[in-house]
Subunit: 341 residues, 2 copies
Amino acid sequence: MFDYGSNMMNGLQQRDTVGVADIAAAAERIAGEAVRTPLLASALLDERVGGRVLLKCECLQRTGSFKFRGAYNALASLDPDARGRGVVAVSSGNHAQGVAEAARIFGVPATVVMPEDAPAIKRDRARRSGATVIGYDRSREDRDAVAAAVLAQSGGVLIHPYNDPRVIAGQGTAGREIAAQCAGMGIVPDAVLVPCGGGGLGAGIGVAIRDAYPEATLTLVEPEAFDDYGRSLRAGQPIANTATSGSICDALLAPSPGTIGFALNVRNAARAVTVSDEAAMAAVAFAFRELKLSVEPGGAVGLAALLSGGVDGRDRTTVVVLSGGNVDEAVLREALSRPAI
Amino acid sequence: MFDYGSNMMNGLQQRDTVGVADIAAAAERIAGEAVRTPLLASALLDERVGGRVLLKCECLQRTGSFKFRGAYNALASLDPDARGRGVVAVSSGNHAQGVAEAARIFGVPATVVMPEDAPAIKRDRARRSGATVIGYDRSREDRDAVAAAVLAQSGGVLIHPYNDPRVIAGQGTAGREIAAQCAGMGIVPDAVLVPCGGGGLGAGIGVAIRDAYPEATLTLVEPEAFDDYGRSLRAGQPIANTATSGSICDALLAPSPGTIGFALNVRNAARAVTVSDEAAMAAVAFAFRELKLSVEPGGAVGLAALLSGGVDGRDRTTVVVLSGGNVDEAVLREALSRPAI
């Protein structure tokens, strides 16, 4: 297994943390290629929640999720010689698309290792960006072993989906934008809800938000059966999930918190809550019907936490990150077949 | 039939035109209630079109379409005594929702006259905002007669969907935002594509855009079988459609150009193009799959014109207004059942 924690990938010793300067540098790198996604309000949602809600729409990001930010920043930060050997990603799908698209922009080959049960849309889009897709069986094969074989064969550079300071800094640009957008509206956020798999998005956003708004709370939102982050925060050290599959929130099934992001999330006093798959699907339907946005289940868990009452949004301003929109059409149909909430 | 052209509604003589000052005043009125919708870019769309495309996402507007802008501005402009008697709207659905929601905000009753074949989502949403919905048969009943009876009975104020300077000024705020957003990005738009039914949105946007960017061209986009605006522009005077129903673009079936907007569109040198229902549905599917946005067929005709090649977007900057997102789920399923374009 890779020693992601020591972060000695490709012989480059890096700092094992991320600060606001790293996020500012990442923002400059991605500016020409990533979308500055809108921070949207919905009067209907405000009424439902009983407070002000602002939606950071990363479903409208290039490749349909926030992952493009970190992937592009990582590739842009690589030494051109190293980058030229090509990049490798291990991902449930959104990071794969982000890396594939970033590699296409830089004109270098990408190989992505994805579970065979990943949504078809994610596999197809990674291929469309020119990546070679290699599948593995999530329940029987060790993805790190598959990735190691690919790395050995290709000689490429591994872009980890979350335990890489360049990736976390890239994801943090979403938080930097949230802070600037709140300031532009004259709004001080009380709380930020971030969908959480390996914890990189929450870590990056937390650094940026708490620099601008030190009183804002950071809440990571996980699927019920994948509450490794909540358990890890309570234990004070990273603890792995027991399950490897079995939630509709395919984007949030990382095996355990990344160590770099975990330290940042601890420092930022993050707390974690869980939502059921039912609540996530209801939020997908709500987003489609009421917000006119395509949001995938894993991207909708923050909204689900608010709508289901798991997080109390009354009489306060809550920023909710809608982290991805790559929902298979069958899953959307399934979500829409349920009664409206 | 109402003499919409003379605009002597409710005993108030109004100027029969709209200027940038009216739009600026409307922008102030709606600022606390309407969404400043994003002007989004998509790298994928740019590549497909071979030029730069910016999407003004009115599907993300309150009530799911631009109509809230004009409806709210009209209600806010009314004398409080007149407004207190309640408002009446005749609409295929989006204007009805806009008026219903604006009336709810002002705490006054709303009655909306809608064709019985309007999408269920639009009828339901008007009711949800508290409006009384009265249906009529588009092919057999005269909607103006139905509306006249409602007006006589209720004593309320008619809010015309497009032939009202207050409504046009409200829709023009979308154009004012586009101009400011382009300026903020340092971009000069070459062309603006606007879905067209009665022509009020195009008229309002045209006034605002050509004030800021006099060289930008204005193109109104209509369904093939409802090309009254194109024929009217060529004839130099308003000509009615022959059909009253039969396009999937339910939002764009106004019987003929409104006189106030027509004069403005002539002055702004608007041209008109048509798209097929097939192309509109393909654009709905493209918007869902690639842009992660729910766009209704009538709201997608500008995008359809670009994607189908009816409007050439190569080597230029084109702003496309996605004017509404209230698509019935069955229509979306139908759109998604076709091969991807």
